[in-house]
């Protein structure tokens, strides 16, 4: 079965695969940054003493965490053009979907992170005259973020894998690009083995990096 494994098909279509990987990486990075930003705001809202705000943020998080990601991707694919009144293309709709979806998960990570900061630190920030916003910005969130780096990175790896779900709306990420090549050249085995290998190497390196980071943080 592997006797006619053709590596040329990979190298001949390399630029095509690289382009797909670029899309995958852009999606991942934007979803991480956007999700983290929105998620942190949601976490602050969830912890707010102002109950209606906490309720709205809580509902948002529970809603998205109860939805299959693939459904959210589909949903935004059809919804976003309706809202903005013109076709936006698959890429931007999945970008929005990923940011909004990931924000729910990052919210919960950051919430745990904020709660891991000792009460005394908040007192200390208040006592030197910092406002609530300044206290969060300069004292609490940097510590919360640091405490949560390993979990945030783990979530990033999951996200990297999950971006392959854009397959369902035909956005040309790494997997879809490989799929197109596979069908065109009739080299399904070669292409999907390559895809698996690339995902495996990237995710494993990420995991190993996190483990090293954790060891550094513990000591």
């Amino acid at each position: 079965m592997f006797s006619d494994f053709d590596t040329d098909v990979i190298f001949n279509n390399l630029h095509f695969l690289v382009e797909g990987m670029q899309t995958t990486l852009i999606l991942t990075i934007v979803a991480i940054l956007g999700g983290l930003l929105l998620g942190t705001l949601l976490a602050l809202a969830r912890l707010s003493p102002f109950k209606p705000l906490a309720f709205v943020a809580g509902t948002y998080v529970n809603f998205f965490r109860s939805m299959p990601l693939i459904l959210v991707i589909f949903w935004f694919y059809f919804l976003v053009p309706h809202i903005v009144g013109r076709p936006v293309g698959g890429f931007y709709s999945v970008l929005v979907a990923f940011v909004l979806f990931e924000a729910a998960y990052y919210c919960e990570i950051m919430r745990a992170g904020i709660q891991s900061v000792r009460k005394g630190q908040i007192y200390a920030g208040q006592a030197i005259g910092l406002t609530y916003t300044q206290n969060m910005r300069y004292v609490v969130l940097p510590q919360a973020f640091r405490n949560m780096v390993p979990i945030l990175m783990t979530q990033a790896i999951i996200l990297f894998q999950d971006t392959s779900l854009v397959y369902v709306v035909g956005v040309k990420d790494f997997l879809v690009s490989a799929d197109l090549v596979a069908n065109r050249e009739n080299r399904i085995l070669e292409m999907f083995t390559t895809v698996a290998l690339v995902y495996f190497i990237i995710c494993l390196s990420g995991s190993l990096f996190i483990r090293r980071l954790q060891r550094k943080f513990v000591t």
Partner: protein, 242 residues
Amino acid sequence: MIELKNVSKWYDEFQVLDDCSTAVDKGEVVVVCGPSGSGKSTLIKCVNGLERFQQGTIDVDGISVGAKETNLPRLRSQIGMVFQNFELFPHISVTDNIKLAQLKVLNRSEAEAQKNAMRLLDRVGLADQADKFPSQLSGGQQQRVAIGRALAMDPIAMLFDEPTSALDPEMINEVLDVMVELASDGMTMMVVTHEMGFARRVANRIIFMDEGRIEEDCSKDDFFNSQRGERAQTFLSKILHH
């Protein structure tokens, strides 16, 4: 300078402060002592509004702490506070700890904040530790930095919440020395502590608390010369005997 009138506070049903009234004049050093759970830490945290209270009033320099319209961050920036567990910010250097509020609250220039930080580190004897992180310092050193951080705001009064309780015995004096010096410079101070030696040396008045009430509020001499009630007597004999 600091005036508390009939302050009461409840955690749900449980009353932690019961009708507490006292005053600290400008330049006065008042030591607050009492058994654990007597409400002394809660009382001192009420003074700069870190803890809310349900009844009574607290005025600091004529500004009501409990009033809705009071700008609490602004008021707090004028009152220094030192905590039992130091509470230095672990993610920034010692110097940055002292600079943070100068830059963000007082809007001082980078150069001015830096100059102040160095001056204060020198004052608490830690100029050579400027670039270290809090976790690299001993407890006593951390607490001295924390005092420097509070002083950087040029406070009109200083609150100390058991500043030496978390310290190893050999480090207590280095912190107390800084506090004694501060007191002799005329700083208005309210100090929750069990360090009766410190109280004897620099306190003007002693407040003794028990079960949320101020049981004694008298001059140092009266307090140490047996002019005190039975509870204070019992407490004092307990902490002086070991």
